[in-house]
């Protein structure tokens, strides 16, 4: 089982003819994702990795239904491409690019809310329902089916943690990257809700970091509404205040978004916060044994 996407999900790749777009199209197909088309204005009629290329999203939707779209589009043009997908009726949009202007991101989110669509990212590695559908840029081999749901603000750190699980023969249901920007679409709570409902997901790993308040909000949600065990890892304990740690959203401002505040909130919600990534497989095994 999985949340948001599964092997029926029909996926479009916006910016398919670029270097990243074409490479990851190949990777996604290799994983088993049903890529039904690509978009590249002016290049309609070509094919990339066997996938037909269209000039516009509307054109692609004339040919077949589409459930989700992934964007490999330079940041200055990402808003236009995202609005196009939303306007055309695509309901799940994965925004890979980093450095999308903050105000563009807010405009995308406002329109997505109108269209009741889900935005993943920006600045995300995407999401993957293990063994059936990957819409993202994560390395294929670590994502094997299993009982653990994972939701993370960062990419490589999430692979590191999932890698530890894989080494311990623990698989995942769905792994969702929220994205490292200050304004992102899906947040922890949206994903936790879905995991809570998903019968295949027995427990959840939450990978957070400093900055913003989404871990604190997640903690409140967990305390009030979740029955499944959640364990967490948080990055940025050693980060100085006022500095952006790689992610636009990873910054402690005016005493808000600190590591301590997040650990406190999560611990109080009954979430076990791991000190080191390597501890996670043991914590997971313990939780699964109880679940």
């Amino acid at each position: 089982m999985s949340i948001f996407i599964d092997k029926q999900t029909r996926v479009l790749v916006q910016g398919i003819t670029g270097k990243q777009g074409s490479f990851h199209t190949g990777q996604m197909i290799a994983y088993g994702t049903k890529i039904v088309g690509g978009i590249s204005p002016g290049k309609g009629g070509q094919t990339v990795e066997g996938v037909p290329v269209f000039d516009t999203v509307f054109e692609a939707l004339e040919k077949q239904p589409v459930d989700a779209s992934i964007l490999f589009i330079p940041a200055p043009y990402a808003k236009d491409a995202a609005l196009e997908a939303l306007d055309a009726g695509v309901k799940i949009i994965v925004l890979i690019p980093e450095h999308i202007p903050l105000h563009d991101a807010m405009e995308i989110m406002a329109y997505a809310r109108q269209k009741e669509a889900v935005i993943v990212g920006p600045n995300t590695f995407g999401l993957v329902s293990s063994g059936s559908c990957k819409i993202g840029i994560m390395p294929n081999r670590y994502f094997i089916p299993g009982p653990v749901g994972v939701v993370s603000r960062s990419g490589t750190l999430c692979y590191e943690i999932v890698g530890h699980l894989t080494d311990s023969d623990i698989g995942t249901t769905t792994v969702v990257g929220l994205g490292g920007d200050r304004v992102v679409g899906l947040n922890f709570i949206d994903v936790l809700e879905k995991f809570e409902e998903d019968p295949a997901t027995k427990m959840i790993i939450l990978v957070g970091e400093i900055g913003g308040s989404s871990e604190e909000e997640a903690a409140q949600y967990i305390a009030n509404s979740m029955t499944k065990p959640v364990i967490a890892y948080l990055a940025g304990r050693s980060a100085p205040p006022g500095k952006r740690m790689g992610h636009a959203g990873a910054i402690i401002e005016r005493g808000r978004g600190t590591f301590e505040s997040k650990v406190k909130a999560l611990s109080e919600a009954g979430v076990k916060v791991a000190e080191l990534p390597m501890e996670i497989p043991l914590l997971v095994k313990a939780a699964l044994a109880k679940a």
Partner: protein, 370 residues
């Protein structure tokens, strides 16, 4: 990009937001003339740090002589390690009340938010939560008059001040939106007999949107190394320790630093060289770190888009061209791991597979080499 107060006030002026009469000066001599023109003045150091007042970076002067004396003092100051190069000489406002007003981004609500309080002039962290009105603005509507009326009601503001707010707030909102601001803060917002005046200006522009604003000046508050990292499109932050760290991905780089600290080491920096860097950029990143003269170099690669062979090749290239005469702890797993290990093996480096091992090794090396 944070803007100096004087630049923020120039933008305010352009958006028809009332600001005090003022002169920017670059030497104490100019203070005399400015004060002669403006009368009772405030002398304000132009540095990108808060709490200038507490640090003595703001002074009052009743006459040109005093103004010059205070300016001289301030030009000699250093605030939070920042030199004072420009000073703003401003008319002293007759302030009946100090308010707080800001526009910023509400990450949770994913939209702009207006923050207003009748308690201004103090640190915003010190304003009581219940004394602060937070109004998230639907970005497709923008800030409409009715929203300002409702904000006024929530604040308990009526009459003339309400009218002032209805005129004032939409101007700040327009600036915030049109200039891609992350923050546009006025603290204090001064209520004077002539109405509301922005007594301070703290404006931050979204770095990712700067390309849309060629007319804005480019403020460099970064160190030389940070600037160089920026040119290379590397996420880099200088820290105090002696273990230079590079990794691929913001989260794992933070986690690496945390782990260094956990094992008793001290990271010299944060360097996320991102995903998919080529040999050239990866080499430059390594060279940059070597330039900071750390005791140990810790490279933590979990290859996804990042290819292990590319990192290894970059490392070998720098080693051969510039020399790497410090201990290295290398972790290398993921895409093209075998090729990478082979390349490193040729120069006698044995990369480990576990992040934990690599970090512990680096910390040991840093202790040994002290």
């Amino acid at each position: 990009m944070k803007l100096y107060e004087y630049l923020g006030k120039e933008l305010f002026y352009r958006y028809d937001i009332p600001v005090p009469h003022r002169k920017l000066i670059e030497s104490a001599e100019e203070a005399t003339e400015a004060a002669a023109e403006l009368g009772n003045v405030v002398i304000k150091s132009q540095v990108l740090t808060g709490k200038r007042g507490k640090a003595g970076g703001i002074a009052f002067a009743a006459d040109p002589g005093e103004a010059r004396k205070e300016a001289e003092r301030i030009f000699k100051m250093e605030l939070n390690g920042l030199k004072v190069e420009k000073v703003l000489v401003e008319e002293k406002l007759q302030i009946d009340q100090e308010l707080y007003l800001a526009l910023t981004v509400d990450g949770a609500a994913r939209c702009p938010v207006v923050l207003v309080s009748l308690d201004g002039g103090m640190d915003v962290e010190d304003v009581a939560e219940e004394r602060m009105v937070r109004w998230p603005v639907n970005i497709t509507l923008g800030l409409q008059d009715y929203m300002v009326r409702e904000i006024c009601r929530l604040l308990g503001v009526t009459g003339d001040l309400k009218k002032e707010f209805i005129e004032f707030l939409p101007k700040l909102y327009r600036l915030f939106r049109e200039l891609d601001a992350e923050l546009a803060e006025i603290n204090p917002l001064a209520l004077t007999p002539a109405g509301l005046v922005a007594a301070d200006a703290k404006v931050t522009i979204d770095d990712d949107a700067l390309y849309r604003h060629p007319q804005l000046p480019r403020i460099k508050e970064k160190t030389a190394l940070e600037l160089k990292a920026e040119e290379l499109d590397l996420a880099y932050v200088e820290l105090d320790g002696n273990i230079a760290v590079m990794a691929n991905g913001a989260g794992i780089t933070m986690a690496t630093l945390d782990m260094v600290q956990h094992y008793g080491g001290a990271p010299a920096n944060f360097l996320d060289f991102g995903g998919g860097a080529d040999v050239e950029r990866t080499s430059k990143a390594i060279e940059l770190l070597l330039g900071t003269s750390p005791k140990v170099l810790l490279i933590n690669i979990f290859g996804g888009i990042t290819r292990c062979d590319v990192v290894a090749e970059a490392f070998v290239r720098v080693r051969e061209s510039k020399g790497i005469d410090l201990p290295v702890s290398f972790r290398l797993v993921g895409t093209n791991e075998a090729e990478g290990r082979a390349l490193l093996g040729k120069v006698g480096i044995k990369a480990v597979t576990s992040m934990d091992d690599a970090v512990r090794h680096a910390v040991e090396l840093s202790v040994v080499s002290k």
